[in-house]
Subunit: 146 residues, 2 copies
């Protein structure tokens, strides 16, 4: 039988495992939050809102290719997670503004650094891709044999 000390240690380890978030664990609540932040449109909405408060139509213009339905769904998800605050002025015609919450600002900072790196690295990424394609298909540049 385990001693009281051993039991206490096991209990502590269990609590720690539960308290420490782990996105690699399918059942950890951090997994869903990560997926919302990095969804196709979520990542772009967060990046756009990092530059300041936007109205719905402004966001739609800023984010190329987003549909009204997808933008609306994405904003609802990010609002539900507490990353985005929706302010309805209750006016007619309706005036609704979207802003990052303090936690949303923190998340957006990390997203912006990924996006900024990607934009800056695009030439290097495209060059590396072209080089791999050239290596993979040497036959196309060699003279045709008889």
């Amino acid at each position: 039988m385990a001693s009281p000390d051993q039991t206490a240690e096991t209990a502590r380890a269990m609590l720690d495992a539960f308290a420490k978030a782990d996105v690699m664990a399918a059942e950890c609540p951090s997994r869903a939050l990560l997926q919302h932040l990095t969804s196709r449109w979520g990542v772009l909405v967060m990046a756009a809102l990092a530059t300041g408060t936007h109205r719905f139509a402004q966001l739609r213009r800023r984010i190329g290719g987003v549909s009204e339905r997808m933008l609306s769904q994405t904003l609802q998800q990010l609002e539900g997670d507490g990353f985005v605050h929706r302010h309805d002025y209750g006016e007619v015609p309706p005036r609704v503004e979207y802003t990052l919450t303090p936690l949303g600002h923190e998340a957006a900072g990390h997203i912006l650094s990924l996006v900024g790196w990607l934009e800056d690295s695009l030439p290097a990424l495209l060059a590396a891709k072209a080089e791999r394609a050239a290596i993979a298909t040497p036959a196309r540049t060699a003279p045709a044999s008889a």
Copy 2:
């Protein structure tokens, strides 16, 4: 008619716009790369590979909930983008290892800082969510009126 100087300036502005990546533009190639890096499984594969070289089965065990098919598709996508290098030792039984490329390591660094922040902030995010839920449904905690 525009002067040669004006024409030159317009041409320069057009080239700059083309050369400068912008994830907000639907047609910019950075958009697809961002989506691969932040896809449901891509973000987790990048985070897992940031800890070192993995074989396929190791990655599958590490990332809770990923199917063989989705992991395989995700790895192919990240390999095509130049973030992941696939090394096939040509042995029987097959031995194939996945490693981040130098550019993949840079990307993974940004992804890890987002994931790390999210895991650390999960208690705060869940607490804020519980608080919003309590404010949204005050009737449930108030005594029932006759």
